[in-house]
């Protein structure tokens, strides 16, 4: 029977290699926070399974306890134990130091992407009917004002997009405008990045304050065009009548 310690180590290492090196071959790399989260889950799974019964507990923890207690160890075994006992606190110390040492890198962010809108924007509904003409007008306005950043395909890949960090929102992603009501988009377009509230800090949005350029009618029609073009529907509390 294979040692559960070795099996566990192989599973952990395999998962790390998958998350860190293999997954980025097909998609964007994962941040360290997420990799550690998934590894912690895998480790807890290994510990839960390994400690379920007396034999599995002994097979998993027995060698570790015997190694650390040093009973009956001589020569290389004793040296290895000493090395672990010295290296472990050093590793913890190094980790602590590298976390605390001043750095010119900005700290990791837990940015709030969807801060709550101000009260005056809550409950607004699009005053313009959803007619083909209005949608067409909205798409035209979108092409003129929004597509340079948000892309002609509503996917956040406009010609100007590479210049922004974070990049412009991808409206075709069901996790963006499909989760929001039209009133929310109206607020974001009207007030732009500078209109984000305190809870939206750090303010990292290059979205212009379109109220200075566009009348409200245009903004509502752009919203209509955006949803139609991105094949998404705004979040509502009422089902649309056929």
């Amino acid at each position: 029977m294979k040692s559960p310690i070795i099996s566990g180590a192989i599973i952990l290492a395999g998962m790390f290699i998958f998350l860190k090196f293999l997954l980025p071959l097909v998609t964007a790399p994962l941040p360290a926070s997420l990799i550690y989260l998934y590894l912690a889950l895998v480790l807890s799974g290994i510990l839960i399974y390994g400690t379920m019964s007396a034999p599995s507990l002994e097979a998993m923890m027995g060698p570790i306890f015997r190694f650390l207690s040093g009973k009956g160890q001589t020569g290389a075994g004793q040296m290895a134990r000493l090395a672990v006992l010295v290296m472990f606190p050093l590793l913890v110390g190094w980790q602590t130091y590298s976390r605390l040492v001043p750095s010119d890198l900005p700290p990791a962010e837990n940015r709030t992407i969807h801060p709550a809108p101000p009260g005056e924007f809550v409950g607004l509904s699009n005053p313009y009917p959803k007619t083909p003409e209005n949608i067409m007008m909205g798409k035209g306005l979108y092409a003129a004002y929004c597509s340079p950043c948000h892309g002609a395909n509503y996917d956040g890949k406009g010609p100007a997009a590479p210049g922004f960090n974070p990049p412009p929102a991808n409206f075709s992603d069901p996790g963006t405008i499909a989760q929001l009501q039209e009133a929310y988009l109206f607020w974001r377009i009207k007030k732009g990045g500078v209109g984000l509230p305190v809870e939206g800090m750090p303010w990292k949005s290059a979205m212009p304050r379109w109220e200075e350029e566009l009348p409200e009618e245009f903004i509502w029609k752009i919203i209509m065009g955006e949803y139609d073009g991105a094949h998404q529907s705004p979040r509502t509390w009422e089902e649309e009548e056929e």
Binding site: A28, L37, Y38, V42, S44, L105, G123, P174, Q181, E239
Partner: protein
């Protein structure tokens, strides 16, 4: 919306002027018996004219109220949850004629008297603090809710009287009087439910106030009570109290198991731990559905509040919630699986593969549940990802994914219990094979249907997902639970036992896992209590009365998390104290007479110190 200038600060006397004669008499009686309340209401009126807030040096008024309110709420959850637990156990004992259930119910009812007093004590402290520190708010709430204060007092009197009769009459009301005792237990829980839902209306009114029209004091209070989040909170708290009660009983059993020195004690507390975990888990299964309903009502009431909670700065609390619920699910299942391995000798090999499968599914689901919509990333990482939203894993961050995995986790946990139930038994019914095949098929279909609805949910408007897909997912899981439970019960009725269940052989880590589950539930309640309360942001009463104190800001999440931990720690200390006080008498009885050198038969070292049920055996 009512502007601050339109706020009415009417006195209790003014409120009473609108009442009919009989009600006035009732109010007079209540005030006579509750001078503190009368002083509170009257005093608040006077203070409201001059002082809006008072502060407490050092800790600050808000923090002090935070700690005391949280302790009161947790204790209230305990004293409302434990009677439900005790009554269910007593009912089971009465139906099955198994005395141990009755003994268990009595053991926990004994705790209630001291716990009840402690809860009332914290309630009193909270009331005085609120009156003293937030006079303007309390004057407004008193004006709005005064008649419900009287109902609350009446319910308290009834609850106290019923509790005394229920506890002190336990031994007297045996035999043919048992049904009356059970009726008292039912009344106890009924009054307890009332005690919970009345103050819930005050707190939910603060979060989701409604326009209160003209009418007498009772009509206005009733209108204010019927706010949109009242019943969702009532149901959520009722179920959560069952969960808290079950897991605290489990933790108590776990600690007693670790300290047990005789075989009988180990067997008893091992069994008690199983019952506590069972009730905690069964309460936990419908809890996410109740939580979902509550959040749906919050969103429907006010989109701004919903976004603050689920998408705004409080959204990170829901990632912490996922972690805590995940640990709770893992801990509860771990306990079930260890029960199969240790209480049913020889079953370890048989269930190894299903357990591994369940564990993998639980971990995968937990991975999805814990993945935030916007990830914590350094500048370099965000640049590589193209923002803090990962193009592939970002899809796990929305509700469709969370609902799907929570339903799957509930299904897996339910199946863990079914597996435990069937372990060590051989079905003898002729239709057993067909029933098991149907159950297996239904389970696979249900799992696939939940996942398909979850994935499909990304491609339909949100309202279709919320109104139909999420509801269908919940109904599918409930269907499995309500069909599998009686079917398995029928199968087990005629099944022959191949391996007898052995109590008292669980390893010591089972005791620790019971304690961990209880701590997780307390932390969860502290966390979500903060989330619900802070969703009002800078309002005492959302959109009606603004918080103009020095503390009209939301604390940083780390600061809030420290307070949640403090609250959990303090509550654990209080519960430990209550348990210690309540078991002092038992300890005295168990002690050998002074000067006696006689050994108590069967006593060895406690399990946590390596003691075993008998010589030659060893607990891991």
């Amino acid at each position: 919306m009512t502007s601050a200038g339109q706020l009415r600060h009417a006195t209790v006397v003014q409120g009473m002027n609108r009442m009919p004669g009989l009600l006035k008499f009732g109010s007079f009686l209540a005030l006579l018996f509750l001078p503190a309340l009368a002083m509170a209401a009257g005093g608040a009126e006077i203070q409201a004219m001059s002082v809006e807030y008072r502060d407490v040096p050092g800790i600050g008024s808000r923090n002090l109220v935070w700690v005391v309110a949280q302790q009161h709420l947790l204790l209230a959850g305990f004293v409302l949850g434990v009677p439900i637990f005790a009554w269910i156990c007593e009912l089971v004992g009465w139906k099955t004629k198994e005395q141990r259930y009755d003994k268990l119910a009595k053991e926990f009812t004994k705790l209630l008297t001291s716990a009840y007093a402690t809860t009332a004590l914290f309630g009193g402290i909270l009331l005085f603090l609120l009156i003293g520190l937030y006079p303007k708010l309390m004057a407004y709430l008193t004006d709005m809710f005064f008649p419900s204060f009287l109902v609350y007092c009446l319910l308290f009197l009834l609850e106290t009287a019923t509790l005394y009769m229920y506890w002190y009459g336990w031994d007297y009301m045996q035999g043919n009087k048992k049904t009356f005792h059970l009726f008292l237990g039912f009344l106890l829980n009924l009054f307890a439910l009332g005690i919970m839902i009345v103050p819930n209306s005050w707190a939910t009114f603060q979060a989701s106030p409604v326009v209160v029209g003209e009418g007498d004091a009772w009509a206005r209070a009733w209108m204010a009570m019927q706010n949109p989040t009242w019943w969702p909170v009532n149901i959520h708290r009722l179920i959560a109290n069952v969960v808290l009660g079950g897991f605290i009983v489990g933790a108590y059993a776990g600690v007693r198991y670790l300290l047990a020195v005789s075989r009988e004690e180990r067997e008893h507390y091992d069994w008690m731990g199983y019952v506590g975990n069972f009730i905690g888990v069964f309460g936990m299964l419908p809890l996410p559905f109740a939580g979902y309903w509550l959040m749906r009502e919050v969103y429907q009431y006010n989109q701004q509040m919903g976004i603050t909670l689920m998408g705004g700065f409080l959204a990170w609390l829901f990632i912490l919630q996922a972690m805590l619920i995940g640990v709770l699910f893992l801990g509860a299942n771990y306990y079930f699986w260890m029960g199969i391995t240790h209480r049913i000798p020889g079953s370890e090999g048989q269930y190894k593969k299903p357990v591994m499968g369940m564990l993998i599914v639980l971990l995968l689901c937990l991975g999805v549940w814990m993945t935030p919509h916007s990830l914590v990333a350094s500048l370099a990482e965000a640049q590589k990802m193209g923002g803090t939203h990962h193009p592939l894993l970002g899809v796990f961050g929305v509700m469709s994914a969370k609902m799907t995995v929570s339903n799957i986790m509930i299904l897996v946990t339910f199946m863990s219990f079914i597996m435990y139930w069937r372990a060590g038994k051989q079905e003898t019914a002729g239709w057993a094979k067909a029933a098991k095949a149907i159950m297996g098929g239904l389970l696979v279909i249900a799992g696939i249907a939940v996942v398909v609805l979850g994935v499909w949910g990304y491609f339909v408007p949100a309202i279709i997902r919320i109104n139909y897909f999420s509801v269908a997912q919940v109904l599918i899981v409930l269907f499995i639970m309500v069909t599998f439970t009686p079917l398995t019960a029928l199968l087990m009725k005629s099944a022959k036992t191949t391996t007898e269940m052995v109590w008292g052989k669980m390893p010591i880590r089972a005791g620790y896992s019971l304690v961990l589950n209880a701590v997780m539930v307390i932390l969860l309640m502290s966390l979500m209590g903060y989330a619900r309360s802070s969703s009002r942001v800078h309002w005492h009463i959302y959109g009606v009365m603004r918080d103009t104190s020095d503390y009209a800001y939301s604390p940083a999440l780390g600061y809030a998390a420290a307070f949640m931990s403090l609250n959990t720690f303090v509550f654990c200390l209080i519960v430990a104290f209550i348990f210690w006080v309540a078991t002092l008498g038992d300890k005295a009885k168990a002690q050998p007479p002074k000067g006696s050198t006689m050994e108590i038969p069967g006593h060895t070292a406690p399990a946590m110190a390596g003691g075993a049920p008998s010589s030659g055996e060893k607990l891991e």
